[in-house]
Amino acid sequence: MEKENIFSVVKEAIADVLPDVDTEAVSIEQNLKSLGANSIDRTEIVMSSMEKLGIKLPLVSFGGVENIEEMVDILVDA
């Protein structure tokens, strides 16, 4: 449940940063690059998600992330 909640917060962040993406159609296995996010967009999505969740983690924590699910898992564990 926790994971689903966090995924929906991440989708809100994606909608803010990438207004052309239909977030209803985004699945957790996808990566942000495939949604058209450049490196700054990706960083902004991570930071905006953390802000919405009140989490503060160093950005390097997300260094090896390959898809949205791995990012969500890090946020779940925070």
Partner: protein, 445 residues
């Protein structure tokens, strides 16, 4: 109207060495765009000029402390996307690019994108295959992200970790160069110029020089909207340059260039763009030339203060005339810097008399700042556009609030719209730090 135009033979053609050709030929204005307090586009702006509409009102509510000034000519009800999709004649792919690049940008950048698109469309460059390396972009304005930064400050004090990564790009004035070049695929020279209140003219002057030097064929000049934060607004009041507003019954009365009651400038907002092009290229592609810039010059007074100098201003006007190969008596119309500053207005009157002598009885003079307020960085571009619209429409816009002129020799336009044919015009812009600039341009027709 007969105008004597004396062309000075000043050809400096470098030939036979493979270098680009350098010449003193005029530079064509082929596109114009604007978003300001009295018009969301060129057509609306022209109508407002004709009618003498003022954009000055009480300032919108702002965060922060109560300031000593509460009036200005702001761009109101701004929505980037709403305005973007009003450009129905611009190709969808270009609009998508603009949306992608600027949807999350600060207001100052979004306003530049809108006026740049209008100018680009007007120039006919949209519908054409352009060589990107022959296109340039100059962003005229300095410290253009002050209010954006001010707005981030409270959040930053508590949670610096959440500062958007975009900030590192967006606080730089050069970000506008990046955004405009990406949207319009510009790959020649591009940079930011600052010249305080003369920034717009400085941008135009540098674009003219780039084109005359053969470095680019076409150059977009974007005069950036002044999105001042409360700190800059209070700063201009404290230095004695900006009128507070409470001295007058209505906000509209506060900007009164060359009137006895002038008491300082009124804050104005405008994003204004022009597309300049070498006359050869404009002719080759059959472009509609709206006006031709013949001469443009700037200089310094070698002072670091706010003090204006009549001799410096006169030098700029004389040099612009000389470079244009025209004489003062040929000029029909002057769009004065006229900021409504008591010292600034008096100094400019003195400089105008030095340059034009007896011709001041014929030279028509007005100041667009009576309607738009002082648009600071973009003022030079706004006023070039205002001048071209008056040339094209054969009118002189009113000098709003000019009831008792500080000088009776100059031929100031009155409180009402007048019909007039202008063949040759000049526009002045002066800035803090002893920066003087002047541009001379002629009717395209």
């Amino acid at each position: 109207m007969d105008v004597q135009v004396y062309r000075v033979p000043m050809q400096r053609l470098i030939q036979g060495n493979g270098m680009p050709q350098e010449s003193d030929h005029g530079v064509a204005i082929v596109g114009m765009g604007i978003v300001c307090s009295i018009g969301d586009n060129i057509v609306e702006f022209k109508e407002s000029l004709k009618k003498g509409v003022s954009g000055i009102t009480r300032l919108a509510d702002r965060k922060g402390p109560k300031l000593s000034v509460d009036i200005g000519a702001e761009i109101k009800a701004f929505s980037f996307l709403d305005r973007l999709y009003r450009y129905s004649d611009i190709p969808e792919t270009l609009l998508q690019k603009a949306r992608h690049c600027a949807q999350r940008s600060p207001f100052a950048i979004q306003a530049s994108v809108l006026s740049a698109l209008e100018a680009w469309q007007d120039s006919g460059m949209v519908a054409r295959e352009n060589d990107p390396e022959r296109l340039g972009v100059i962003v005229a304005g300095e410290s253009t992200t002050q209010n954006y930064r001010y707005g981030l400050h409270a959040g930053f004090e508590t949670d610096p970790e959440y500062l958007s990564p975009r900030y590192a790009l967006q606080f730089l004035d050069t970000h506008q160069v990046g955004v405009l070049s990406e949207i319009l695929t510009i790959k020649g020279e591009g940079f930011v110029v600052g010249g305080a209140s003369a920034s717009g003219n400085v941008g135009i002057i540098k674009a003219v020089q780039l084109i005359q030097a053969g470095i680019v064929d076409t150059c977009l000049v974007a005069g950036v909207v002044a999105d001042l934060s409360p700190i800059e607004l209070q700063g201009f009041v404290n230095v004695g340059a900006m009128v507070r507003g409470n001295e007058f019954q209505t906000p509209e009365q506060a900007s009164r260039p060359f009137d006895e009651q002038h008491a300082g400038f009124v804050f104005g907002q405008a994003s204004a763009c022009v597309i300049l092009q070498s006359c050869d290229v404009a002719t080759e592609r059959n472009a509609t030339v709206r006006s031709t810039i013949l001469g443009a010059a700037m200089n310094l007074d070698a002072v670091s203060t706010t003090a204006p100098s009549a001799s410096g201003e006169a030098r700029a006007m004389n040099e612009a005339l000389r470079r244009g190969g025209v004489c003062a008596s040929g000029v029909d119309y002057l769009n004065a810097h006229g900021s409504s500053s008591p010292l600034g207005d008096a100094t400019e009157v003195e400089a105008i008399k030095q340059v034009f002598g007896d011709h001041v009885s014929k030279l028509r003079v007005n100041s667009t700042k009576g309607l738009t307020g002082h648009c600071l960085y973009s003022a030079g571009v706004v006023e070039l556009i205002a001048s071209v619209l008056q040339m094209e429409g054969e009118f002189i816009h009113p000098n709003k609030n000019l009831e008792n002129p500080i000088d009776h020799k100059l031929r100031f336009s009155g409180a009402r719209f007048e019909k007039a044919r202008i063949a040759l015009a000049m526009s002045n812009s002066f800035g803090f730090g002893g920066i003087n600039s002047s541009i001379v341009f002629q009717n395209a027709c």
